[in-house]
Structures are given as structure tokens and as C-alpha cells.
């Protein structure tokens, strides 16, 4: 409708990460249980705009999506001297915890996709008591690499084109063209070397094999949802990971790929609504839950 203004609001918060203030952009909507959403490698918080705008979810959740430093509207920190950007497990974990602390969120739910799904597992390993529930989309303790990341940042290859072309195959063929194209557009807009730097965490530093066994889902519930068309983090990768985590809930999502929330929001809603309803119900047993 012409003139419609969405209920999503975007602002900046100054966050102390590792002793340096970062100007972090975030968007939010709703009220209630804080739900922090983490974007995929090389993209930004726009991936969550459909979830953010969901009026039903917003009745029960304060839905927040922030851009990681170097991504979207969160610039690199002032101290950056141009060195190669590399995301590490420690840095990623510190950034999420610092954001939640700066925003004064009370035991938020964190939902992350891809690298966001992987770091959710690390939050469950080391910081479970800080969170109300954790949701990993396209998450596993490890995945087999399927391309050489040096192609992502070199002067004789267009970074935006190659990043988008590589991940285009991770979108399910059933996803609508408009949302598929929008998902890929973010990859065409990323800063040079940022997608590659994120994958340093994914490929090199963030191998959680042998560590996820320590996750205690009685402290913090863990939900893992993976799209059937994701050949990067396959349903088998997620099932294998969950097999060593007692109490982890696994869902394989049909007709979805690696970017469920942005590539096909309506199909994703069918799967995430029951999860959010369960979390809301557990936190407010006397109140009415979310209706999917």
C-alpha cells in the first residue's frame, strides 16, 4: 500500500567490544521476550525483515536484528587499519554478549543462521545460563568445505558477483524469485573480504566437533532447524550434531535452503512459529501462547 510505514525501527547503539566502542546498527519491533537474530556470513540484518515485521510474533517478542561490525550499516571500528578481516569464535561470542549487555536484554533468546547457527552452539557450550533459549538455523558443529574461499576476495574477480553466485545454489528452487534475489542482493553489497573473513570462523576457527557434547539443554533449550536444500550445512550435518546433544530439538524444513528467513519467509514461518510458541509458553505459563 502506498505510504505504508513498517513497524520496524532502526537505531544505532554504541557497544563496548573488547575495550573499543563500536557503533552497531540494529532494527527492532515488538515487545516481550528479547529475541536477538544473527545474520549469515557476508550478509546483514535485513535478512530478518520479514520476521521483524510479523505482527503476531511481535506481540510476544521484542525482535532485534543487528548488523555485525563490517556488515550492513555497522562500520568497521575506528581502530581498523585495513588488515585482513577475520572473525574468530572468541570475537563473535564477545560481540553477541556485548550487544546483549549494552541493550540490557534480560536473558534473551538468540536465533542465528549459518555462522549464526554455529555460534549459537558455542553460546550453548560456554554461556547457556545467559540465554532463555537458543535457536540454530542451518547449524552444525562442522561442515565439509565445498569451495576455496580465496575466490571471494581477489582483485581480478568481482567480489559481489562471485559471492552471490556461490551462495545462489544454497537457495531452494521453490523459493520465490523476489525473495531469492533479495537474499542474493545482500551478498552483492558486502564489503571486500568480509564474507571470506566470516568464513574464517566457519572453516578454520569454529570447529566445534568434540565440544557440543557438553551442551546441557536443561539449562537452556536448544532448537536446530535446517533446510532440506542446504548442501552447505546439510540436514545430515545437523542431525549428526544433535545426536550428541541430549534434548536438542531437530527439524528439517522442506522446500527451504540455507537462508530460510529471507529466501522464503512464508515457508519458514510454518516451522519457526511452533518453536517461538513453545518458548513463549514456557516463559509465561499463565498467559496465552503464540498462535502460529
Amino acid at each position: 500500500m502506498n505510504g505504508q510505514i513498517e513497524s520496524i525501527v532502526g537505531r544505532y547503539v554504541h557497544v563496548d567490544i573488547g575495550g573499543e566502542l563500536h557503533r552497531i546498527y540494529f532494527e527492532e519491533n515488538g515487545a516481550g521476550i528479547p529475541l536477538v537474530c544473527l545474520h549469515t556470513a557476508g550478509s546483514d540484518g535485513r535478512q530478518w525483515r520479514h520476521l521483524l515485521a510479523d505482527a503476531e510474533f511481535a506481540k510476544h517478542f521484542r525482535i532485534i536484528a543487528f548488523d555485525m561490525p563490517w556488515h550492513g550499516k555497522s562500520n568497521p571500528p575506528a581502530s581498523w587499519n585495513g588488515d585482513e578481516y577475520q572473525l574468530t569464535t572468541a570475537r563473535y561470542t564477545a560481540t553477541i554478549r556485548a550487544f546483549c549487555k549494552a541493550m540490557k536484554l534480560d536473558k534473551p533468546v538468540v536465533m542465528g543462521c549459518s555462522i549464526g547457527g554455529r555460534i549459537v552452539l558455542n553460546l550453548a557450550i560456554d554461556h547457556a545460563a545467559e540465554f532463555r533459549a537458543l535457536i540454530g538455523l542451518e547449524a552444525a558443529d562442522f561442515q565439509q568445505p565445498w569451495y576455496d574461499t580465496t575466490w571471494l576476495n581477489r582483485p581480478d574477480v568481482h567480489g559481489g558477483e562471485v559471492c552471490a553466485a556461490l551462495v545462489s545454489g544454497l537457495v531452494a528452487p521453490q523459493s520465490p524469485k523476489a525473495t531469492r534475489d533479495e537474499t542474493l542482493w545482500a551478498y552483492k553489497q558486502g564489503g571486500p573480504g568480509v564474507f571470506k573473513g566470516d568464513l574464517y570462523f566457519y572453516r578454520v576457527d569454529g570447529d566445534l566437533r568434540g565440544k557440543v557434547e557438553t551442551i546441557d539443554t536443561s539449562i537452556c533449550p536448544l532448537y536446530l532447524l535446517t533446510g532440506e536444500y542446504d548442501f552447505s550445512c546439510t540436514p545430515e550435518d545437523t542431525r549428526r550434531t544433535a545426536a550428541s546433544i541430549p534434548g536438542a530439538c531437530v527439524t528439517v524444513m522442506e522446500k527451504l535452503g540455507h537462508f530460510p528467513m529471507s529466501e522464503n519467509p512464508a515457508q519458514f514461518r510454518r516451522y519457526i512459529a511452533p518453536v517461538l510458541a513453545e518458548i513463549a509458553k514456557a516463559q509465561a505459563p499463565a498467559k496465552q501462547g503464540v498462535h502460529a
Binding site: Q144, H158, V162, A165, S168, A172, P173, Y229, F231
Partner: protein, 136 residues
């Protein structure tokens, strides 16, 4: 369908790709800076393909001896059959999904392939998008 007839069908479908490309000007435009000789097709019998300014100017299954090429992308007949389905199965829906599962191999000097990755994905998916014309 026997393996031999399956391979024959794959080769027949491949032979229609140049005409399908000519009928897809947006894809030709996407490849307008691409000049490349490569091998594309079935794993045992790839076509030699010459591309100039995004158009296929030569497409042959029986090249001259000692023909040079920069890269090749070859896949099993099963992989091509599945890749060209109107709604391909998970794991058979992308060129790099096929390489990851061992149904395809990409070899050689990959620069032209990577600089034009979406072009080659879309080029080799043309039979999927034009299934009725391919069957005709």
C-alpha cells in the same frame, strides 16, 4: 531407460544449449565480457565449447586433436538428468552441490568459471527452464 540411452538423451539435450542461449539475450548480456574455450557436459564425453562475448560460437562433441581448453565441468548422466528436472531434488539443484556430492568434477584453470559462475549455472540450467522445447 538404459545407461546408454540415458547418456544419449543427455547428449541430445546438451546439443540444444547453444540455441537456448541465443533465445536468452539477458544471459548473453551477462556473459558479454566472456571469451573462453572450455569443456562442458557428460563426464565421459564432454562438449568442447567456444564462447565469445557471451555467445556460444562453437559447440562440438568431436573436436580436433590436441584442442586446448581452460576449464571443464563434467557430470554424470544421472546428475544432468536430475539437474534438469523442473524441480530438482535436494543436492542435485546446483553445479557445486553436484561437485560436493561427487557427481561432477570441475578442473583446469577456473578463473573464467568463477568470474562468470552465475552465467555458467544459468547456461547449464537452460534445459530445465525450456523443458518443453528440449523434449520437442
Amino acid at each position: 531407460m538404459t545407461q546408454a540411452s540415458d547418456s544419449s538423451a543427455i547428449i541430445q539435450t546438451f546439443s540444444k544449449i547453444p540455441a537456448l542461449l541465443d533465445a536468452t539475450p539477458a544471459l548473453v548480456t551477462r556473459g558479454r565480457f566472456l571469451d573462453c574455450d572450455c569443456r562442458l557436459g557428460p563426464i565421459d564425453q564432454p562438449f568442447f565449447v567456444s564462447i565469445r562475448a557471451g555467445r556460444i560460437v562453437e559447440f562440438t562433441a568431436t573436436p580436433a586433436l590436441m584442442r586446448s581448453w581452460r576449464f571443464s565441468y563434467r557430470a554424470t548422466p544421472k546428475a544432468w538428468h536430475e539437474y534438469w528436472q523442473p524441480m530438482p531434488k535436494a543436492g542435485f539443484h546446483d553445479l557445486l552441490a553436484l561437485t560436493k556430492r561427487g557427481e561432477a568434477v570441475v578442473e583446469g584453470e577456473l578463473h573464467p568459471f568463477m568470474t562468470h559462475l552465475q552465467y555458467f549455472k544459468d547456461l547449464l540450467a537452460l534445459p530445465r527452464l525450456h523443458a518443453s522445447q528440449v523434449a520437442a
